[in-house]
């Protein structure tokens, strides 16, 4: 009997597929939050597998803070066109008009207006009752206790003290009108699993993940890329060309690069095993204060 064996990666894949199918059958108006990053790319591939040979029974929603890396946007448009994905882009119109940027408003306020508020506006506009996201429990401490089906009230808020118990593979998708659920199909994946899967499935990624000479400045101990002319340089800062790559992707002024020569998935994994820095340490918004991620989640951010 023991030849009926599934590798751990295939088990994770099967679990994610099961979650996608369950949510689509439980909810009326699903959407997938698409961040262009590697986790989103994996999420898309899993969803494609779940509904094969059909197309995805939902749209992709990308929240554009207007400060994303150029290469991300290029990749997004190409990837969605090639894969035949139905993409909607949302952004905070008022915020953009007011010129909200990370330099004048600080990362916290900027993130709230251009990411969290933009996301909530788009979710309200679409009237979605379920939104798939690519968050993983191993990313950060407060996420370790997140449910796979994460209930959000009418204001999209998460209450860590009032989470629904989640047993077996029996997910509770019952909600009242106006409420919603965030579903995280890759909750149980680790960073290594994600890379592993990208390698196995040959999933295309934004080139920013791989090392290349890029213009950067050193700020608060990390390398920030000068992606366009909007980047404000502090006195004394001069961009230098460095071999760098990004472990996570977001808004370029807030996303630190690491010095690296890793140009392939294998290189990246090799480096990961050696550097031993957890993934989110290159994200400036996580260290805004003790428990800052938890705070953002309560407010409706992922």
């Amino acid at each position: 009997m023991s030849d009926y064996k599934i590798s751990q990666l295939k088990q994770l894949e099967a679990e994610s597929i099961e979650i996608f199918r369950d949510a689509v059958s439980q909810f009326d108006n699903p959407v997938m939050l698409y961040s262009i990053g590697k986790d989103s790319s994996v999420l898309v591939r899993l969803a494609q597998k779940a509904f094969f040979p059909g197309k995805l029974p939902f749209k992709l929603l990308h929240i554009n803070s207007t400060w994303k890396f150029k290469e991300m946007i290029e990749f997004r448009d190409k990837f969605c066109a090639e894969q035949g994905l139905d993409l909607t882009v949302g952004h905070n119109v008022e915020g953009k008009a007011a010129g909200v940027n990370p330099f004048d408003y600080g990362s916290r306020k900027y993130t709230d207006i251009m990411k969290t508020q933009a996301l909530l506006q788009s979710l309200d506009e679409g009237g979605y009752d379920v939104a798939f996201g690519g968050a993983r429990r191993d990313e950060e401490k407060s996420r370790a206790k997140e449910r796979i089906y994460s209930f959000r009230d009418r204001n999209h808020q998460w209450d860590p003290k009032n989470q629904r118990p989640e047993l077996w593979n029996l997910y509770n998708g019952r909600i009242n009108p106006g409420e919603s659920v965030r579903v995280f199909p890759i909750s149980n994946w680790t960073e290594l699993d994600v890379w592993q899967y990208i390698r196995l499935e040959k999933i295309p990624l934004v080139p920013l993940y791989f090392a290349k000479k890029r213009p950067v400045v050193k700020r608060d101990g990390t390398w920030i890329m000068v992606d366009d002319e909007r980047m404000r340089l502090e006195p004394g800062e001069t961009p230098v060309e460095k071999m760098v790559r990004f472990r996570t992707l977001g808004c370029y002024p807030l996303t630190g690069a690491i010095e690296s020569s890793a140009a392939t998935v294998e290189d990246i994994v090799a480096e990961m095993m050696q550097t031993r820095l957890s993934e989110r340490s290159t994200r400036l918004i996580d260290s805004d204060g003790d428990s800052s991620m938890e705070q953002k989640k309560r407010e409706g951010y992922f």
Binding site: D22, P53, L167, W168, N172, R174, S187, R276
Partner: protein, 615 residues
Amino acid sequence: MDIDKFLDEHENKDLLRFLTCGSVDDGKSTLIGRLLYDSKLIFDDQLSTLRKDSEKSGTTGVGEIDYALLLDGLKAEREQGITIDVAYRYFATPKRKFIIADTPGHEQYTRNMATGASTADLAVILIDARYGVITQTKRHAFIVSLLGIKHVIVAINKMDLNDYSEDVFNAIKADFAQFIDPLGIPDIHYIPLSALKGDNVVDKSAATDWYDGDTLLSTLENVNIAADHNYSDFRFPVQYVNRPHLNFRGFAGTIASGVIKPGDEIAALPSGKKSTVKNIVTADGNLDEAFAGQAITLELQDEIDISSGEMIVKVGNTPAVSKSFDAMLIWMSEQPLDLSRTYHIKHTAKMTKAKVDVIKYKVDVNSLRKQNTDKLELNEIGRVVVSSYNELFFDSYRENRQTGSFILIDTISNNTVAAGMINVPVAAQDVPVNSEREVLEKHINDREFNWDHGIVSAKQRATRNHHYGKTVIITGSKDSGKQQLAAKLENRLFKSNLNSYYLGIGSIRDGLDADIREGFVNRDEHLRRLGELSRIMTDAGLIFITSIDDLDDYELEHLKLLNTPNEFFVISVDSHRFDSFQPDIAIEELLDYEDALSQIVALLGAKKIIPEYCI
């Protein structure tokens, strides 16, 4: 390092999900922190944050790292110093990948433990060597057994504070074994360790040279879980009907159990319509065979109508199909179970509505005593009868975790309020019943009405035997000597020319009880059979003697009813577990068998069961 080789290995590892349970302060978080640390899973930045945090709010000594802080995720918990929810952790060794469900030991959080246990293959139960088996340890063991976990590691921690004493270890081991044995967990390992010092966590400790077993990590790596899966009963709950175009109609889902091949004859439930499997479709190509755990899409030969929430099974091997079943229920909501209310029920891929008709009893999770009740409150566990609006297709939880589990959802708050584990289908009652007692009384009435009386009357039998039939039950703790007393009683009565019969547990375990395994729920069935048997044996005019471990009031009441219209005597040995019931004879400590026998024989005489000259 050869990255390609490393990645290939990592990809093909197997996965073990385990649960850690312990009480406050028994070092559980420290143990997990140590596992992650020693298996090099803590990143450098996390370590430096940890050092900072340890200085700020750590509870260990100056300069020592408080591994527990690594795990307590949420702010409120960090302030209280107690993990209040289930947190999931991930780590891998060259052999296996692990998912840890870290659950709290705090009194009121039974529901969190059940949550963590529901997906676990194995449980690590921590015991603080200074205190041994405490009430909470028993509760953990009970919940673990209830949730069907087949592998348990008993980690006897803080051995460093007991001079790594082998005697302490052995005493705790014996104590725990006595409690856990009747719960029917097949695979149990005991490990002496110190999470703080790292003894026997990852590396074998020189301080416990008397211990020849594996370390914790090595046990986790080597426990064989392949045999836990059910590959014999094909159950395929349909999650989603995939109809991308007119030429394709597939039923998508994850195989709950069993194996399927193209060409296999299947039936759809509840319609019963039959077809054969045409293709097993996946995005990576069609499969020649698929088995439990795989997410697939089935294409059938014939166009039969199957909706999401229905089930595909093989012809000739079908689950129970019923609207009514018996289950263990863990109540998880502040609002108690209300028998008059309707709840949503989610079972496999199906959502319908259900009511709880009867609460047979609730279990005191600390003593495993059963009690009558009319409601279940937060963290209470009860045995119930549920009836659903639509038919469900299920197996018993012990045989099939996937098709034997369900949750109840409040129809107003939409909260998940209960977790259920199905025991058996029950015949739907013609008339609604309000209590377990009513069900039983109806059973007794029907049984007695239909009883096939022979020609020989009870009176004729008694005249010829020179005594009446009677059941004598001797109850007490496991090693109280009650079995010996029962056997001696049989012998004493036999020598006085009385028809006595002693029935030992060994005489029915592989016979009358052969189809039921050990375990909490199965004890109810064992007692039911014993009750019915005592009715027959007494009717046959025998003095029927048997011994039962630790009867409580609830169980005794049941036995009594089942034995109706006959009656029995109850002798308790040692400290009994009755609340209000008074045994006919209570023997505090069984020091003198002759004395105990004389008391019992005197009782039989006084009650005119046996002639006075036999005393």
